[in-house]
């Protein structure tokens, strides 16, 4: 295996899962998210030699992912996924009530506007800082802070009365 090939495989293994989750919350469709991740990595492979700073690889992949999404899928209407099909990948969540809570929360995230969902996914899944998100989304850090704050408030508000907030 050549050095770039080795580097690419390491990149896929290190960031594939995270990228898929952000892609999913971006397009809310499993198959499309898979295609998006594949196209993102293929594009990254073609430009691998242009990557100067290894520390910025995650942000770089995220920018490619967003561009691919805008280029290929943003204007297309897709059949939406049934969230009940999703298994909860955790790990410590075993209680039935707790699983129900997570499903409620997942449905609430699903119905958030993209302008809230996207920075929230980048922050919660990708662990990006506000500055990094602002740079990727072309917003000011203050605007990003407002959006992620409002996203959380909307989620909490949507869960009030469904028992999630109280038990959390």
């Amino acid at each position: 295996m050549t050095e770039p090939q080795f580097q690419f495989e390491a990149l896929v293994r290190a960031h594939g899962a995270e990228l898929y989750r952000v892609a999913f919350w971006l397009c809310r469709q499993r198959e499309v998210a898979e295609d998006l991740v594949q196209e993102t990595f293929l594009r990254a492979w073609r430009s691998l030699k242009d990557l100067r700073e290894a520390s910025k690889v995650k942000a770089w992949l995220m920018i490619i992912l967003r561009r691919e999404h805008a280029r290929l899928y943003e204007r297309k209407q897709h059949e939406q996924v049934d969230l009940a099909d999703f298994e909860i990948e955790d790990m410590n969540v075993t209680a039935h009530a707790e699983q129900a809570e997570i499903r409620e929360l997942r449905a609430a995230i699903f119905s958030l506007d993209a302008k809230y969902r996207e920075p929230l996914a980048m922050q919660v899944i990708g662990g990006f800082s506000v500055d990094e998100i602002a740079s990727a989304l072309g917003l000011t850090p203050a605007a990003v802070m407002t959006q992620v704050f409002r996203a959380r408030e909307k989620l909490k508000a949507s869960l009030v009365g469904k028992g999630v907030e109280k038990s959390a």
């Binding site: 090939q5 690419f8 495989e9 896929v12 293994r13 594939g16 899962a17 898929y20 989750r21 999913f24 919350w25 499993r30 198959e31 499309v32 898979e34 295609d35 991740v37 594949q38 196209e39 990595f41 293929l42 594009r43 492979w45 290929l72 999703f86 298994e87 909860i88 990948e89 955790d90 790990m91 969540v93 809570e101 997570i102 929360l105 997942r106 995230i109 929230l120 996914a121 922050q123 919660v124 899944i125 662990g127 990006f128 800082s129 506000v130 500055d131 850090p141 802070m145 992620v148 704050f149 959380r152 989620l155 909490k156 999630v164 907030e165 959390a168």
Partner: protein, 246 residues
């Protein structure tokens, strides 16, 4: 740390959020349930990643790389070849026959044995939804169950666009290529080196089935004909040309 410090640190440095939360909780700056909400939020957003995703990406990259290397030519030779073809085209314009079954067989065997050598050995199962999505791009509708698909990709085959699948059967993997807009005879069987297979007309294109050794592919052809509604919509190059231009 005061409430303003906390809010700004929480927003600006997500990596340190656990530490920040600990301090904030100890200082009474957080409502008691805030950390639990964040934990649930993380769990909710952590959707399950398809098991085959990483292998699919690596395989697609290997295929793309092989195709790119295969078609990398000296620009001067490419220019000379183009001029020659233009001149030749001028002589024979209007006389070019459509790609026949023999040509499709040669292209398919070359594709399988040169560019996609590893595809038949793909493990796992591609989710039916992914298969359906690729089919939809080519104007095909998956209407019934078919053999499990262990690999699927959109591949160039000469001038044609194809869906390349590998189906798992009891007798071993079978490669199936749906070649959009290709003309084929009603049904032709063939043998090329280690491969045997069949080519048949299928909706608005042709279906090529290939397997190593001798396999009776008739039952699989029947299953595919039943499972795929190929006559519903014609292939629309505008939908897929972008995918191949990449």
């Amino acid at each position: 740390m005061n409430v303003f410090d906390f809010r700004s640190r929480r927003a600006l440095d997500t990596h340190a959020s656990e530490v920040v939360f600990e301090h904030a909780r100890a200082a009474g700056l957080l409502p008691p349930d805030d950390g639990a909400f964040e934990a649930k939020l993380r769990q909710a957003m952590r959707v399950q990643v398809p098991e085959t995703l990483l292998e699919r990406v690596l395989l697609a990259q290997t295929t793309a790389q092989a195709t790119r290397l295969r078609f990398r030519v000296n620009p001067l030779w490419a220019l000379a070849a183009s001029l020659f073809l233009v001149a030749l085209g001028g002589l024979f314009i209007g006389r070019a026959p459509p790609a026949g079954s023999t040509n499709l067989v040669d292209l398919s065997v070359e594709h399988i044995s040169t560019y996609e050598v590893d595809a038949p050995w793909s493990k796992g199962r591609i989710p039916p939804g992914s298969v359906r999505a690729v089919f939809a791009e080519f104007g095909l509708a998956l209407t019934d169950q078919m053999a499990p698909v262990s690999y699927i990709n959109r591949c160039p085959l000469g001038e044609f666009r194809t869906i390349h699948m590998v189906l798992s059967t009891a007798d071993g993997p079978v490669s199936a290529l749906y070649v959009a807009n290709a003309a084929a005879a009603e049904r032709v069987t063939f043998k090329r080196g280690d491969y045997s297979g069949s080519v048949l007309q299928f909706g608005h294109g042709a279906l090529v089935l290939l397997a190593k050794g001798e396999q009776d592919l008739t039952p699989l052809e029947t299953t595919l004909k039943r499972a795929i509604n190929a006559s519903a919509v014609a292939y629309q190059p505008s939908l897929t040309s972008d995918a191949f231009a990449r």
